[in-house]
Symmetry: C2
Subunit: 110 residues, 2 copies
Amino acid sequence: MTNPKADLLQGTLDMLILKALSLGPLHGYGIIQRLRTMSDNMLHVEQGALYPALYRIELKGWVSGKWGENETGRRAKFYKLTKAGQRQLKIEEESWDRLALVVAKMREAT
Amino acid sequence: MTNPKADLLQGTLDMLILKALSLGPLHGYGIIQRLRTMSDNMLHVEQGALYPALYRIELKGWVSGKWGENETGRRAKFYKLTKAGQRQLKIEEESWDRLALVVAKMREAT
DNA sequence: GCCGCATGCCTTGCCATCTTAGGCATCCTC
DNA sequence: GAGGATGCCTAAGATGGCAAGGCATGCGGC
């Protein structure tokens, strides 16, 4: 907001990652690309934001990571949404809706 | 989001304060109440969040503060939106719209 | 008269999280 | 063999909200 370059507001990234993973397991690098395509190219998440975020939400049990290989045989760590992660996604979406409602109300207020 | 107690996402507060002041000058304590009524009681901003934010945005020139008296004769510092603040409000609203669009797109993505 | 609450201002310390800027390894293409 | 894409990670810095306090004034109730 204040920072003109900022793509995101702090706090939305977790929700977006969980949402991306709700379409199926994926490794970190792929998540960035999926976020990009899901948002019609409007959103670019930096690696320096993504990997710490993945680590965070794995600690919280919302995703589980497992080393494996991608389709071209390269080593990559695949994350998948856990049950708790699905619940959390729901919570964060509701929280988002709530804030969006607040902003909408503010806008129409006179 | 991650923090269950958090009412806001970081970065939205400035916009909401500017929006509240776009309805007319007001002192800090009153801004909190105006935000509450404008949001139909959904939003409670802590003083510890508000005053530093006011200080910030005054430094940036988006509001200007002046000591005066409220209707009951009590000393209070009144803030009013500057021209630059009006421009900034517009910018922040557009930025919000953009993020809301991203989230909407993410939601419909499959 | 005084106690507590509402109004009004402020500060400090804490903590979460995004950005910038790197480093490292592998693989493909030219 | 150089460069770029893919893939992982980290550290430093800044931002900005929250909790918790402090202070002063004024008003109502007991």
